[in-house]
Amino acid sequence: MKKIREWFAGYLFILPIIIVVGVFVIYPIFASIYYSFTNYNPLRQMEYKNTFNLQDQLEQYLLIFSMKDLNTKDLLSQFDPADFIQTQLGIKLDKDQRAIIEKYFDSKRLMEDFVNLKTNKRMSGSQFMSEYMSKYKGMFSGYTPTWVGLKNFYQMMNDPLFWKTLWNSIFFSIIVTPIQTFIALLLAVAANQKIKGIKFFKLSFYIPSITSSAAISMLFMLLYAKPGIINRFLGFIGIPPVDWLSNTSTALPAVMAMNIWTTAGYFMIVFLAGLQNIPKDLIEASELDGATGWTRFWKIIIPLVKPQISYVVTLGLIGTLQVFDQIYFLIQNQQNYTTAMYIYVNAFNYNQMGYASAIAVFFLAFIMALTLIQRKVIKEESYF
């Protein structure tokens, strides 16, 4: 009895998070896989949701100016339901749907309601269809995307822009992750000496990572401008001004530098915490053995902060592969998009949610494969 009570409490406690994860993560994965085989168009979703006044629509369609002396029979001869739904209500129909409407649409009742002034009310396309279809109402309850099989995946394979964006994401990740890890470690080693004003340094390194990526993008948009401060500094050493963000060959590296700047300080704090756990005499002992700075760094410090390195590299890879915000603000040319950004524009700007979903599904498989490989590599390393 007590046991069952504990079971019950356990399920009750985890129920909310299960619902949230189920609805907003697990269901979307399957829905994305389904969409990736269709030509899902978000604009068409609105066709069944837009509302209208039925009487107005019928009057316009049947060209009626007065509601007096109307005859159901005459009206019926002029009324073509499929045509009315398509041209007047703006709902696109395919062949099957048209055939079913011709068979099962209750035009007679609609015309009777119209003559008896029962149609003067607002309704949506799906309400209208469920009201006047005598059968197969479910077919018209909302927009169902058409199944297109592997078409989206073929399109993806032959889309040079997609491959370019995938390469950009990978490039971003393999350059940014090691550099930010190295800078963070270097700063942590430096800060681990007996340093005065360590609080100031920590705060100044940390501020970029607690600032919204939106605000940071704005700050850097100013810095990267052609007459901006970065070009002025480079001018000191004789480098001519570059329009960093408009130039396709410099835009991505510029955003990468900004990304390193944002995260290095945060990761430094992770390393510093790890370094402070290392007993001081261990480092001092190596000093007595005559180890110089670099050997000490590679042979003593690196192995001791291995758990932190793997944590930082994992977080770095996840973060950089999915980078979106900074790309959204700063990148102007499609050639410099990352995959996350390419999915976004396809779904929300070009209204090709089916195609976007295909890329998303590919991206999911790609990231999962990477994660599995990375786990294996890290596990093998720990045998040393």
Binding site: E6, W7, G10, F13, I14, P16, I17, I18, V20, V21, F24, V25, Y27, P28, I29, A31, Y35, P42, G142, L187, V189, A190, A191, Q193, F201, K202, L203, F205, I207, I210, S212, A214, A215, M218, L219, F220, L222, A225, I229, W261, A264, G265, I269, V270, A273, G274, E287, G293, Y311, T314, Q322, F324, Y328, F329, A340, Y344, A347, V361, F363, I367
Partner: protein, 293 residues
């Protein structure tokens, strides 16, 4: 030990250089934000040239000069008049506040269940939940967006808040903390006749207060700064959050740098205050999360 002295000197140089790199964008933004606004003359911006080089700065004058013009804080006021900035602050507080509240309650409940309660399938469910952390967000946005459209939740607070109201990362943090509390505490309370809910709420959770604080800070800051989700859910300017609103100062013809920098700094100040007030919790999470890796 002369070597140590040299090492320390190099360390200082490294730290100072990086501190300069780290802070320069903010200082520059501050300078621009206090430069007087440009006005339009024949459709062309005239007045202060914020790209001027070198920036003529004179802090000994009253008022001080930036870019050769008297400094002013009126841009910070203007941000509130040319955009519904106060509304955006309210939206951001509602968004971040409710998401934080939801995470505190729901993540803690689930974390407690996974740490202290026994029920069939516990480990399977936990592994499944952890696995969802691998799913990159671009994969889920399209179906989630369509879900919100179907339930008429686009441009609503509910649409912003619900998908974020519980998180697996938070659950993991809370579970780790509850697991570190010795089981004897629970056993003793059980002997005293405390039910499950009382043990969760009155025995274990007060001990877990630091974990609650950490979770609250991280969730609040993450949501406050979040740009991606408001971008998907909001299109009506009255529903924008602060991060989303920044785009508003950039039109296709002209960028209002002074206002944009003022707005960017304004939304950063609360984060710096939170960081300074709760610094120890930041170090704590970075340590505890690193240990698991």
């Amino acid at each position: 030990m002369r070597k140590w002295e040299i090492a320390r000197k190099i360390s200082y140089i490294v730290l100072i250089i990086y501190a300069i790199i780290s802070l320069t964008p903010f200082i520059w933004a501050l300078l621009v934000s206090i430069a007087p606004m440009n006005y339009m003359l024949d459709g062309k911006p005239t007045g202060v040239n914020i790209m001027q080089w070198p920036p003529e700065i004179n802090i000994f004058k009253i008022p001080p000069e930036v870019f050769g013009a008297p400094a002013t804080i009126s841009n910070y006021g203007q941000v509130f008049t040319v955009t519904p900035y106060a509304r955006w602050i309210l939206n951001t507080i509602i968004y971040a506040g409710f998401v934080t509240l939801g995470n505190l309650i729901l993540d803690a409940m689930a974390g407690y269940a996974f740490a202290k309660l026994r029920f069939p399938g516990r480990n399977y469910i936990f592994t499944l939940l952890l696995g969802t952390l691998m799913v990159p967000f671009p994969v889920t946005i399209i179906p989630v967006y369509n879900l919100l459209v179907n339930f008429n939740l686009v441009n609503t607070y509910a649409g912003l808040i619900f998908p974020k109201v519980a998180s697996v990362t938070g659950l993991f943090l809370m579970r780790q903390f509850y697991m570190s509390i010795p089981d004897e505490l629970d056993e003793a309370a059980k002997v005293d006749g405390a039910g499950i809910f009382r043990r969760f709420w009155q025995i274990d959770s007060p001990v877990a207060l630091p974990a609650f604080a950490t979770l609250a800070i991280y969730t609040f800051m993450g949501t406050w700064n979040d740009f991606f989700w408001p971008l998907i859910v909001t299109s009506n300017k009255d529903m924008f959050t602060l991060a989303m609103g920044l785009n508003y100062f950039r039109t296709s013809y002209y960028t209002f740098w002074q206002l944009m920098m003022a707005a960017s700094l304004l939304m950063t100040i609360p984060m710096i205050i939170i960081f300074l007030s709760f610094q120890r919790y930041f170090v704590e999470t970075s340590t505890s999360s690193a240990v698991k890796g």
